[in-house]
């Protein structure tokens, strides 16, 4: 009974000083808002990283040519990966599957429908390696690879772009002006952020190299290791280092890698000297994703520190305003004591007021955080953020922490109020 009346009177007193209360609550609002937004974005990114890991397959190593550099100046990607490199990699004992990849952007046409999209030339293993299930029709066969057949598998988005609701299977499309027969449609995977696997055309690498692009070198070789193989060790390059990121030039070794590693085998096949840098980059998908995940963690720690500081400042703000309030209401405290309030009644009254202020600040902060979390993906700079994941427990926790801050910083002002001498307090002007 008294408790509810205390809360009601605390609300009244906050409402009587609306602006002041709001300013005092601002620190808490920002702090809690930051926590909510941070955890929502973090959880969203984490969920996406896990989904990506599942989609990629975690035993995947990708080999790409390194950048050529001369005295520190980048001079474009080297053209050094060939089909024979892929065949040599298959012979390594720890390797399960290998597929060469070439690619480029092409103009595809069916009747009067046009689309400009990405084309991958690869082997039939690619669908297994990259975990691209065929939904309708089939993938291409080894025979079709050997015969440079003009057959194509479409991503679902590409299929819809060209055929609308019609069934593309068995139809013929023109790719850069030549006829290709549609033999399969892939299952939709969803946009991965940096590329959309649903919008692509996949044809045999032989066809792509000999007929379509006229190429002799590969863009990439994908390797799937046997289960339980240490991918970082077998890549022959330190993984997770800056030297291995996209666009980097070759890696210099102090001790050349063994010939059973990817880098070692490539150095041998490409006749690199011991002092030369690697002319290929070996990327480990799991490591790339882990690094992204690490980045998310750092981001969370940063925002978490901001939130902690903000909550601290918010708490001090509440303490400051509570001290002012206690001074302002000295006569009221005297009156309450004269009519029978005990020290603990006064303590409770001001503690509840601090609690209501911080709790309300926490609730507004949750609102602010939700708006922020939902709004951030709309900001152009942050458009590649994963969709935020709002969790109820985070909000409950944030409001509880805010209340805790309110109690902690409200304790001293409330204690001072409770210790006021009633005679002095009644006489206070």
């Amino acid at each position: 009974m008294l408790f509810w009346i205390t809360i009601k009177s605390a609300m009244k007193s906050l409402w009587a000083n609306k602006l002041r209360s709001l300013l005092a609550m601002l620190g808490i609002i920002i702090g809690v808002g930051a926590v909510i937004a941070m955890l929502a974005l973090g959880a969203g990114t984490q969920a996406k990283v896990i989904a990506d890991l599942d989609a990629m397959g975690t035993n995947l190593l990708m080999v790409r040519p390194a950048q050529r550099s001369s005295q520190g100046v980048m001079q474009g990607t080297q053209q050094n990966l060939v089909v024979e490199d892929a065949l040599a990699l298959v012979e390594l004992p720890w390797v399960d599957m290998v597929t060469p990849v070439v690619g480029g952007n092409v103009q595809a046409k069916y009747m009067n429908h046009n689309t400009y999209t990405n084309l991958q030339g690869t082997s039939s293993l690619y669908f297994t390696i990259r975990n691209f299930p065929i939904e309708k029709g089939r993938g291409f066969t080894e025979e079709e690879e050997e015969r440079w057949s003009r057959v194509a598998v479409l991503g679902p988005t590409t299929a819809t772009d060209l055929f609308g609701p019609n069934n593309p299977l068995g139809e013929t499309i023109k790719i850069n002006g030549f006829n290709y027969k549609i033999i399969g449609i892939m299952k939709a995977k969803g946009d991965q952020g940096w590329y959309n696997p649903d919008d692509q055309i996949i044809i045999p690498y032989t066809t792509a190299m000999k007929r379509l692009f006229g190429l002799t070198n590969l863009r990439e070789i994908d390797i799937v290791a046997n289960e339980g193989v240490d991918l970082s060790a077998m890549s022959g390059q330190p993984q997770g280092s800056m030297g291995n990121q996209a666009g980097a030039s070759g890696y210099y070794h102090d001790v050349p890698p063994g010939e059973d590693t990817v880098a070692g085998l490539m150095r041998k096949r490409h006749r690199q000297q011991a002092s030369d840098p690697d002319d290929v980059r070996v990327m480990n998908q799991a490591d790339l994703l882990a690094r992204r995940s690490q980045w998310v963690t750092n981001f969370r720690i940063l925002l978490g520190s901001i939130a902690a500081i903000s909550l601290l400042v918010g708490g001090i703000g509440i303490m400051n305003i509570m001290l002012v309030t206690v001074t302002e209401r000295t006569r009221e405290i005297g009156t309450r004591k004269a009519i029978g309030a005990k020290g603990r009644d006064i303590l409770l009254q001001f503690l509840v007021e601090a609690l209501v202020m911080s709790g309300l600040g926490g609730a507004l902060g949750v609102l602010f955080g939700v708006v922020m979390a939902l709004g951030i993906p709309w900001v152009p700079w942050f458009s590649d953020f994963a969709p935020p994941l709002l969790q109820a427990w985070v909000m409950v926790m944030a409001v509880s922490v805010a209340c805790g801050v309110g109690i902690f910083f409200g304790l001293y002002p409330a204690y001072r109020a409770s210790r006021l001498d009633p005679i002095e307090a009644l006489r206070y002007e």
Partner: protein, 248 residues
């Protein structure tokens, strides 16, 4: 229980303060007794010690030495919480400046002591008290919507709502014009007729004349006890061990 039948009695109250190097004796051996149903004025010039006496009688302060018994309890030696309890149940305060809480309406102000007492039906009792002071129709008004006289009536309702042993009024007409002041004094007199014990602390002889008895205090001593109705009986001093403590 006490053998003395007076509602309130005090023996040889002394209150000293240390101010710098000097020891000030604000109360210098005050003995008095007040009977149930009396209306008494405590009068004195400023600096006479009447405020100190009021604080001691109101359990806001403790005497340095001496004994003070209210409604059969030795209240002069209680700790803070016990004193708060006595102020809540046995004493109703009326202040010169009303001291209503500004954000609460009349009835909420009046029920506040009952809430601290943990009493049920606080609202109903508060309404009854407001009706008793003639403000039954102003219960939802905020203090700043009331005139000075009305505010003091609300304050009086707050003082009597707990049915206290004494109502202790500190210059209750000091902030009011003469006519309103007289109305308030009439209200005190009518409450007194219904059996309330009322103590008015004032410097104003005209206010004191409304009371049955006046205790005049000067330099911390009772200078004159002008008996309008009956001679006050000073109680015989009692040893402390005969006093029963009943609370906490």
């Amino acid at each position: 229980m006490l053998q003395n039948s007076s509602l309130l009695w005090a023996t040889d109250l002394v209150k000293t303060y240390v101010m710098g190097e000097n020891v000030v004796r604000a109360l210098d051996g005050v003995s008095l007794s007040i009977e149930e149903g009396e209306m008494v004025a405590i009068r004195g010039p400023s600096g006479s010690g009447k405020s100190t006496l009021m604080n001691v009688l109101g359990c806001l302060d403790r005497p340095t030495t001496g004994q003070y018994v209210l409604a059969g309890e030795d209240v002069g030696r209680m700790n803070d919480n016990q004193q708060a309890y006595v102020r809540n149940r046995r004493i109703g305060f009326v202040f010169q400046t009303f001291n209503l809480l500004p954000r609460m309406n009349a009835v909420e102000n009046v029920e506040l002591p009952l809430l601290y007492a943990g009493q049920r039906n606080a609202k109903r009792h508060a309404m009854e008290a407001l009706v008793q002071v003639g403000l039954g129709d102003r219960s939802d008004h905020l203090p700043n919507q009331l005139s000075g006289g009305q505010k003091q009536r609300v304050a009086i309702a707050r003082a009597i709502v707990t049915d206290p042993a004494i109502v202790l009024a500190d210059e209750p007409t000091g902030a009011l014009d003469t006519r309103t002041g007289n109305d308030i004094l009439s209200l005190f007199k009518s409450l007194n007729k219904q059996g309330r014990t009322i103590i008015i602390v004032t410097h104003d002889l005209k206010v004191a004349e409304h009371c049955q008895r006046e205790i005049y205090i000067r330099d911390g001593k009772i200078a004159l006890s002008d008996d309008h109705v009956a001679v006050p009986r000073l109680p015989p001093p009692l040893p402390n061990r005969q006093v029963t403590k009943t609370h906490e």
